[in-house]
């Protein structure tokens, strides 16, 4: 028996998982349209490579990764590109982002795929390229391009942790995926292990998912997976956080700002392993994922949904109840409220919870902090949330950082237990964004200062160059004068020419120069215009006058109002 470690704190909210994990994964119906954002992952937005009106096939590349950290985006089904424009996306801000709208043609016609029977024959570089081209990103929520996490030197990484903990209430997509597609998850994990040169694979699943644990263990029995273990971990939120799961399974604490790979561990979600397998073995890009549709619905269930499926079309299939007020993407602890019901499902969408006032009553008004430190008792990062709250509230950002603000993983456990109903996580998010804004401001100021200094330098240099030129000219003039003076050979050689003389010379030269310039830039062709040209000018003038009048009258109207 493996000895498990624990992490500090944690909470035990009602899981609400039994609502949605009773039925098998259903194939979601083909939606009326797909709204596929080009920025679904960490890093740069993908660049669209299709034109409006063109027909695309299922799995066809429609957005190419741009830059180092980016990921590919594909058409989730065959159909016609209806629009490439800014639309609301699955982000609480409601700020529109570039999306490709695809109208399915109903044929669901695949592009030619490139399956691979023996991935071990492929080079590691090739494998990583295939993953990048297939748009495989972390499906646990971080959506970091997976190929970038699969670089390693030999013997650097000992343990590959596969995260099947799924600690958030309501969400059961990984649970069902593990129950139904365990073998493929393990195959994907083998690819990851090979790329990382990892010795062991530890699969952590919270012990409230006995079916998933059994299915994964059964899949292990085929004998092809040495050094791989399915481990039941205690059910405690946020036990599915990567840092927390790594701690529980290996005892290693990955501090904020430290890469787990430097401590010999890499962590992937089980869904990512599954998608990696589909991408390598079958050549299928990441165009669908398992999404739990639950909450205020009649038949909560998991669906295999195409990326881009409007959320309301998916939730409708689970029987949305009429008093639904909105959708939460993710779980109730860390999920985000959607700005609209029709936003498209993205690669990070593990769960859509239909919210209602009954399920999620509006928060009670916040009372002052009574320093009860229940928040500190449950903080998995072992912070003192009450201190961070006071510093954030007082905008004492330096002190907040000193008290490890950026070690906060925003799991929300502190807000959950706060008897004063203080939205603690909001204060931390605020403080973090303030600090980021300040840093950005500082960077901008630094850049501006550098630019300014450069400009000053340049002006100084140009001045110097001008002065040098002038000096050279003067010298030449002097020499010429000296030559002239020398010619009669009578006049004494005056090396120290009268400065007035040089001034005169200079002025004369400048006047000549100006005359020449004036001759060159004299306006041309204004006297001998053709009648056609004159008519055109008159027309333009008339139009200008009209515009001015209009502008004036509108200003007057405004002032009247």
């Amino acid at each position: 028996m493996r000895t498990l470690h624990t992490f500090h704190g944690g909470i035990h909210p009602a899981t609400h998982k039994a609502q949605s994990n009773q039925k098998p994964i259903a194939q979601a119906a083909l939606p009326s349209k797909l709204i596929i954002p080009l920025h679904q992952h960490v890093g740069n937005s993908a660049k669209p490579v299709v034109a409006v009106g063109s027909r695309v096939l299922k799995g066809q590349l429609i957005g190419v990764p741009e830059g180092h950290v980016s990921s590919a985006v594909h058409a989730s089904t065959s159909g016609v590109i209806a629009a490439i424009d800014m639309q609301q996306v699955a982000h609480p801000s409601g700020i529109p982002d570039l999306c490709i709208t695809l109208i399915p043609d109903g044929r669901d016609e695949w592009i030619a795929r490139e399956p691979c029977d023996d991935w071990k024959a492929l080079s590691h570089t090739d494998l990583r390229h295939r993953l990048r081209d297939a748009g495989v990103v972390g499906l646990g929520g971080a959506v970091f391009p997976s190929d970038m996490k699969l670089y390693s030197h030999k013997h650097k990484i000992k343990t590959l942790v596969l995260n099947g903990a799924e600690c958030e209430p309501y969400i059961t997509c990984d649970d069902l995926l593990m129950r139904e597609r365990a073998a493929e998850i393990l195959q994907g994990a083998e690819i990851m292990r090979a790329l990382l040169y990892a010795e062991e694979i530890l699969i952590g699943i919270e012990d409230n998912k006995p079916e998933a644990i059994a299915a994964m263990r059964a899949a292990l029995l085929d004998g092809n997976h040495q050094g791989m273990e399915v481990i039941a971990v205690p059910t405690v939120y946020p036990g599915g956080g990567a840092k927390q799961l790594i701690r529980v399974l290996t005892g290693i604490e990955v501090a904020a700002g430290v890469r787990s790979t430097n401590l010999g561990v890499q962590c992937f979600n089980v869904g990512t392993a599954y998608s990696a397998w589909r991408a390598i073995r079958h050549g299928e890009p990441l165009i669908s994922r398992i999404v739990t549709a639950t909450g205020n619905v009649a038949h909560p269930q998991n669906f295999e949904a195409l990326i881009g499926t409007p959320m309301n079309e998916l939730v409708a299939q689970a029987g949305q109840l009429p008093d639904t007020t909105g959708y939460i993407m993710g779980g109730p602890m860390m999920g985000v409220m959607m700005p609209a019901l029709h936003v498209g499902i993205i690669k990070a969408t593990n769960c859509v919870i239909a919210a209602s006032n009954k399920l999620f009553p509006p928060p009670a008004p916040a009372l002052p902090c009574i320093r009860c430190t229940r928040c500190a008792d449950v903080c998995p990062a072992e912070l003192q949330p009450q201190e961070l709250y006071w510093f954030a509230k007082a905008k004492n950002l330096g002190k907040a950082q000193e008290y490890h603000l950026f070690d906060c993983i925003e799991c929300g456990a502190c807000s959950y237990v706060c008897p004063s109903n203080i939205p603690l996580v909001q204060y931390y998010r605020f403080a973090k964004s303030e600090i980021w804004a300040q840093e950005a401001g500082k960077k901008a100021a630094d850049a501006a200062r550098e630019r300014h200094e450069y400009r000053e330098n340049r002006i100084e240099r140009e001045k110097q160059e001008k002065a040098d030129k002038l000096a050279a000219k003067e010298k030449a003039a002097l020499e010429a004068k000296a030559k002239l003076a020398l010619q009669p050979a009578v006049a004494p050689v005056n090396q120290n020419t009268d400065p007035e003389d040089t001034m005169q010379l200079k002025i004369q030269a400048a006047i000549d120069h100006a005359k020449q310039q004036a001759a060159v830039i004299k306006p041309k062709n204004t006297e001998q215009l053709t009648p056609q040209q004159q008519a055109e000018i008159a027309e333009i003038e008339a139009r200008r006058t009209r515009i001015r009048e209009l502008a004036l009258s509108s200003v007057n109207e405004h002032t009247k109002e």
């Binding site: 609480p92 501090a255 939460i328 109730p332 999620f360 928060p363 229940r374 072992e382 996580v425």
Partner: protein, 344 residues
């Protein structure tokens, strides 16, 4: 509308419920108080409660704060109860009213209300009263069967509100010094501990009657521990320190220093350990800080009791340690996740 930001769920817990549980935990101690000393204490508690709520409402109104949510938080009630329990039950009504009103208005609201007061309001109320009205504050009721005469409940009410006694009865006949006070006085008179403790006012562990009240508070305190309203750090460190220091002195000179158990069950030690020092607003937030805070309070309580001018040291020990809380917090910040020395 549900909230706009996660988390969308919260634990059904509130300040009001926490305070209510603390009030409930005081009931065993109060019940034993009534059993041994008569119902006069219930009058003080009622008076203190009404004064606390009225003062709270008035101060909230003056500060332009919403009144209803804060009145419902039960914190003012708790202050009132704790103060009433620190005042002799047979005290004139205005003593309770003045103390409670001062505690709520000055030591709570002038500092910014709930959550912002650096000092325990009940202890400030007690300190003000014992300095301003030392005579009234030391006239404690004798337990049943101890005094030369006993006053019925009606008689007690008559004294509390009207200041009159039935013919022929004097206040001195009804009241006496507390066990701690008696011990101190007798020791000054060169009494020997053994002889002093043979006096009828002493029971098995400490004062007759009052030791049982302390046991009642201990019981309530265990309930608070079990329900995780408080953590073990402060009561354990406080009682442990008091016991240890008293024990050392007792071992060195048993004739002049009483047994440590006497200290634990005397005066405000028990109610202080579980109900007063554990006030989250005026105690440190870190575990190490709580230990340090309670250690200091235990030491000061003993020093004041054994060598100071006041019969009990609990209130002043609390207030003195309250001053240190920000400092203690700043210097006892624990290491965070991943930044400790990693065990191999």
């Amino acid at each position: 509308m549900p909230g706009f930001f996660s988390p969308f769920i919260t634990k059904p817990d509130s300040v009001s419920q926490i305070m209510l549980k603390v009030l409930l935990a005081l009931i065993p101690g109060i019940a034993l108080y009534v059993w041994y000393f008569g119902p006069a204490i219930l009058v003080s508690i009622t008076l203190a409660s009404l004064t606390a709520l009225a003062t709270e409402a008035l101060m909230l109104k003056l500060r332009n704060r919403p009144i209803a949510p804060f009145l419902k938080d039960n914190s003012a009630l708790l202050t009132g109860w704790l103060l009433a329990l620190s005042i002799p039950p047979l005290a004139p009504w205005w003593l309770v009213v003045v103390g409670t009103a001062f505690a709520i208005s000055v030591s709570k609201h002038l500092y910014g209300g709930l959550g912002n007061n650096p000092f325990n309001p009940a202890m400030i109320g007690y300190a003000v009263l014992i300095i301003s009205f030392p005579v009234q504050m030391t006239q404690w009721l004798s337990p049943h069967g101890m005094g030369s005469v006993e006053l019925g409940f009606i008689g007690q009410l008559n004294y509390i509100f009207l200041g009159v006694f039935p013919e022929g009865i004097k206040l001195d006949a009804l009241t006496m010094a507390t066990p701690l006070d008696t011990l101190k006085t007798q020791l000054h008179l060169d009494g020997h501990i053994k002889e002093i403790l043979n006096m009828p006012i002493y029971g098995r562990l400490a004062g007759h009657g009052s030791e049982m009240v302390a046991a009642g508070f201990l019981l309530g305190g265990l309930y608070l521990l079990a329900t995780r309203i408080i953590s073990w750090h402060i009561p354990a460190a406080y009682l442990g320190t008091l016991f240890a220091v008293a024990g050392i002195f007792h071992l060195l000179d048993p004739a002049h220093y009483v047994e440590p158990t006497f200290h634990l069950f005397s005066g405000a030690a028990m109610i202080g350990a579980f109900f007063i020092l554990t006030d989250p607003i005026t105690s440190p937030t870190t575990h190490r800080g709580k230990l340090l805070f309670a250690f200091g309070a235990g030491l000061l309580t003993y020093l004041i009791r054994a060598f100071g001018g006041f019969p009990d040291g609990m209130a002043f020990a609390t207030l003195l340690m309250n001053i240190c809380v920000p400092l203690i917090d700043a210097y006892t910040q624990p290491k965070v996740f991943g930044k400790k020395e990693q065990k191999p």
